[in-house]
Amino acid sequence: MIMRESIVMKIHYGTALGAVFLVAIHIMMRMTMDFHDSLQYENVIANYEMIGYAILLELILILISVHGFNGLRVILLEMRQGKSYEKGVTYGCIAAMVVLVAYGSRTIIMTNMGMV
């Protein structure tokens, strides 16, 4: 399946705006108490166990992964072109993105469900 580059860039900008908004909330959560206290194990676990916050983390994970790996793809395609190279870069970035989302989701889901 080939997606038009203009659509890909719209996704790139959409994920950027979404990530900025959600990361701002994520950082503000660190400001609800002393920065160092907010990183204490019990406080972090309590954050993960809130379903709303877990959904927020999952959305951030997906948005930044899509944005980040598409950005990497764009940089790599700017440097060199060629049919097989472009295909390799695109599928490589998609695979890396899927692995990162899966790995991050594992942490979020297991912690949210109290499997720690």
Binding site: Y13, A16, V20, V23, F35, H36, L39, Y41, V44, I45, Y48, L61, I64, S65, G68, F69, G71, L72, I75, M79, R80, L100, Y103, G104, R106, T107, M110, T111, M115, V116
Partner: protein
């Protein structure tokens, strides 16, 4: 084809100082956008790995957290804040430019053929973004060392 291959500079083109003198702050913003993007992606991957240590209990979490609770760790995190703010600010500028805002009106190309789009508004936005990123880094340092 050989001529085209010779024109490919890759990473060497990124770090060639002659390009900055020739193309100005816009070129600097272009390279900084890529460096901060790659830096933030690397940090994000590290952050996902770092936070996964929470699954191994409090001792594992504390030992990983200790890495960022040092002077070097705080300086590294303040750099991440700076990269994040610059990447965001410059990214919003680029989105606005692509939507046609702030690029000036079309005009007849006269010598020395300066593009309408590379105007003072764009330059001011880039300088402002760098300034805001520096302020955010300073604020981050005061919070982390405070």
């Amino acid at each position: 084809m050989e001529k085209e291959n010779n024109a490919k500079e890759g990473i060497k083109g990124w770090i060639n100082p002659a390009k900055y003198g020739k193309f100005g702050i816009e070129r600097f913003a272009w390279i900084l956008m890529r460096i901060t993007g790659l830096g933030l992606l690397a940090y994000f991957i590290g952050h996902i790995y770092e936070t996964s240590s929470i699954l191994n209990g409090p001792a594992a979490w504390e030992s990983v957290l200790e890495l960022t609770q040092t002077t070097e760790g705080h300086i590294f995190l303040s750099l991440v804040i700076g990269m994040c703010v610059f990447h965001t600010g410059n990214g919003i500028r680029l989105m606005l430019v692509q939507m046609g805002y702030g690029i000036g009106k079309p005009a007849r190309p006269d010598y020395p053929y300066k593009p309408q789009s590379l105007n003072m508004k764009g330059k001011a936005c880039i300088y402002a973004t760098i300034g805001i990123a520096a302020l955010a880094m300073w604020y981050g340092i005061t919070v982390m060392f405070g």
